[in-house]
Symmetry: C2
Subunit: 534 residues, 2 copies
């Protein structure tokens, strides 16, 4: 196993095959190439998500080579190893994280367990937390004490939970509102303070370590507000963190919920990090449905048949686009107003997981890893960056998402078509236009085409589908990391900024006390001079 | 003048000089290079915005060559031509837009006019509209008829106006609320409908052409809701469009405001497109201050001295990063919670303006134009895509934005520093960390550095500063277009998708009526089959 790993990505047989296939990828602009048969054939489905990939620049030959890449990279075996609780968050031979990666365990409650051996313990612990939450929420629901919830967190304890909440507006409890206090910017707190009645507000503080600067600062800010209003924070504040952190303290909180070091920040949204807030704002049943959908996809990704494993296929296509066709970006465009936040969540999952330059043996890689991931909802984005997608100098692959039905179910037929019809028509049209392009004697009205995309189609953005979609993207990122043989589960790249920020904060404090010496931190001094002279 | 234009970007003397300078750009990781003197020296300021660029990979030699590029590209002359009402939205020799570009005229109300010759007429017309709005808002304010405003628009009539509104939460009128109905997704309308009392709601419909599919659909949807509720839309609906469009009809609207074809969509936010909503939600004085700030920057960009023209300098640095150091992206990171939407606005301004592949003579360019622009607010983004910025395989320049003071002015000192202090410390720390990097024997804890950025620093995000910042970005995009000699003011790239979407809508309607033949639109049919079988 170790020996096999020494054969890096570029040493694989399939790598060479794909290089030669990439020399003349299929030309989608040729009349008849993007035909009905191709569209109907190039489909992969799981958990109610249908991935249509006829508009990617692939042939059956490319798909076959990508499948060999999946085999040679031992994608399924690596996933099984993850599901068994093996220590895969690790760089061999260097001090590094040494952790299992078990976010799938916190939702493995449905049917026969997919977690194996030591991961089963993680599942049992998570189930206990879920039961504790169910009991807690039942108690909360039995009174009308709380109408609002302020969620305090950042990073992994922000984007994911916020995305899940904001993606399900039709499921909001009408008697409750959730607010997100995630930015150090004091304006974030000021804005929320104007909207809530502290007496009726619960505060959920989420930090894996219990020490995150932004979260601790905002928590103390909120506690100060409660105390100023003559309220005892202990009656309002709930914490979610690892056991044994400063936040795991029943003397300070109404209740303390737990996660574990093997649930990474950006993968923690389905754990109690997201769970407490979701169960409050959407109800425990909605939260359970999200978990059920995620768990269903956690199962589907074990399938070696790519017609039934769209997440694995999406990862392979991403590698094809990134390493063989050499595209530097990826646009994520959901045709859904509620999924506005989902783009930032995917950006985090992909870029923090795979924005790495060394492999799991500590070697500098000599190929490209994660592309630049960005997105906005369609059709709005059509009136923004789609100009560049269609006619820019570089090619950017697109992941479209769409739903057969709207979430609320209200609609109106205008000129014989509903808004939902028009929405889907735009989605399909963009995918076709990017692929086929258009010739014209007027160079400004010519579209070069051959700009790849795929579509993730589902029936409706319900909690189950949302869970399946998030698991899809978690595993898509993990599969890419497995192929590149990098560690997708750490984030050493955030450390240096933290260290320097603390040095500058120290400098600010020293200056305020008149204690700063000239040599304390020259660059920091210069920037502080610039701000002070404004 | 025509002859000079035939010398393209790559034919310029400065281009060659920059190519050779780019072979060995300054190494910011060397100890002492990013020093106090460099930080204090590399500053350009205008309108209260200070641009700090010591962390870009430039020397005085590079700046001198970039200034020659500005001269050779005749940036200031092209801007003057724009301010004079010349037809610069145009591709020579081909059917194309043939328009002046006069968004600066709609705010040229402060002091001596910067608009010249025919542009002066545009300024006079715009001032008349402003006066009409002032009168209209005074009438609205004299009653408490309206508490809510639903803004219906998309694209240029969405991102800009929404960004201006959402960037100024401390200025919201406490008795009024603004909602944005911009997505075709019927859930957008459903969500808003649950939050408003139609009786007390004004609807502002903004579409330059008066025929935008998404906007017309959403307007009709809203009219239907009003009629269902027994209300006459004419008492509630206000339109903003060009004179003579279907929306310029006093029989249909409470009031009709105007723009003109020489105000491009993505540049229309300071015109009545944004104005009516802003004057309602923030007050006419706040709207006027935004215009005053934008106009001040419209003046500053005429300065040939780059120490006093940060927008021109930013454009030159963007070209240096894109065409000489060959970076494919740009991250925009405001350290301000309120500026969350500003990133999407900049993305639109840059990518729709400069995501082009032909020059103004219709020739295919053989260099890169607009990079991939994306962003999220800091410090939140530090916990998301910053991992890739610090340790990814590609380099992505960053534009940071920050403010000395918060907008609301509330704050709390915790451990001797305020939240605002900590926010700024993080901003400066990231810029330094990206530039200098960090050596380490542990490859996973090494930071390669030499990742360029600059910081836009202002005193406070007030309406004037917001206006100046938006004008900064408009002109930064325009300057880049002038250098590349492309037309930054059209958007032909959005047309093909529109045409195909209409074909698919027709197909849907035909299917519903049982009238579709097999050969009507095969690709469209295949996608409709896929959705129907879900």
């Amino acid at each position: 196993m170790k020996q096999k790993e020494l054969i890096g990505f570029q040493g694989l047989e399939s790598y060479k095959a794909l290089c030669s296939l990439a020399e003349s990828p299929i030309d989608l602009t040729q009349p008849g190439v993007l035909n009905r048969e191709r569209i109907n054939q190039m489909v992969s489905s799981a958990c109610g998500i249908k991935m249509l990939y006829a508009t990617e620049r692939v042939t059956e030959g490319v798909i076959a080579a990508l499948l060999r890449l999946a085999e040679e990279s031992r994608l399924i075996e690596k996933l099984q190893s993850m599901y068994s609780g093996d220590v895969i968050n690790h760089i061999e031979g260097y001090p590094s994280d040494c952790r299992a990666v078990l976010h799938v365990a916190v939702r493995d409650f449905f049917g026969e367990s997919i977690c194996q051996s030591s991961a089963l313990d993680a599942m049992v612990l998570a189930k206990e937390e879920f039961n504790r939450l169910e009991y807690f929420i039942k108690k909360i629901n039995s009174t009308d004490r709380f109408t609002d919830l302020v969620f305090v967190g950042i990073g992994g304890s922000e984007l994911g939970p916020k995305t899940l909440y904001s993606s399900l507006p039709a499921y909001y409890r009408s008697d409750r509102k959730v607010h997100f206090l995630c930015n150090l910017d004091p304006d974030n707190a000021s804005r929320i303070a104007r909207d809530i009645d502290l007496k009726k507000t619960m505060v959920v503080v989420a930090s894996k370590s219990g020490t995150t600067l932004e979260t601790v600062t905002n928590e103390r800010y909120m506690r100060f507000m409660f105390e100023e209003a003559g309220l005892d924070p202990k009656d309002h504040f709930v914490s979610v963190s690892c056991t044994g952190t400063p936040m795991d303290d029943k003397n300070m909180y109404l209740e303390c919920f737990h996660i574990w070091d093997y649930v990474g920040g950006r993968f923690s949204l389905t754990s109690m990090i997201g769970g407490v807030m979701l169960a409050f704002g959407l109800g425990i049943d909605v939260y359970r449905e999200i978990l059920r959908g995620a768990n269903a996809m956690d199962r589907a990704v074990l399938n070696r048949d790519i017609r039934k494993n769209p997440a694995m296929l999406a990862a392979l296509l991403a590698v094809w686009n990134r390493n063989f066709l050499n595209y530097p970006g990826l646009a994520v465009v959901p045709y859904s107003d509620a999924m506005r936040g989902f783009c930032a969540y995917i950006q985090q999952v992909e870029m923090e997981s795979n924005g790495k330059r060394i492999d799991r043996l500590g070697h500098l890689v000599d190929f490209n890893t994660c592309p630049l991931v960005f997105g906005e909802p369609g059709p709005n984005a059509q009136h923004s960056f789609f100009q560049l997608l269609h006619q820019g100098t570089n090619i950017t692959p697109v992941e479209f998402m769409g739903f057969k039905e709207s979430q609320f179910g209200d609609d109106l037929e205008i000129d014989h078509s509903t808004s939902q019809d028009k929405l889907l028509a735009n989605l399909f049209a963009q995918s076709i236009a990017l692929a086929t392009g258009k010739q014209s004697d007027n160079p400004n009205q010519a579209f070069p085409g051959n700009r790849p995309s795929h579509i993730l189609l589902s029936k409706r953005l319900d909690p189950y589908t949302l869970g399946a979609l998030l698991s899809f993207h978690e595993h898509k990122a993990a599969f890419q990391g497995f192929i590149w043989n990098i560690n997708s589960f750490d984030q050493e790249g955030v450390q240096l900024g933290k260290v320097l920020a603390n040095r500058i904060i120290d400098l600010m404090v020293a200056r305020r006390k008149g204690e700063s010496g000239p040599g304390m931190y020259a660059e920091g001094e210069a920037y502080l001079d610039q701000i002070e002279s404004m």
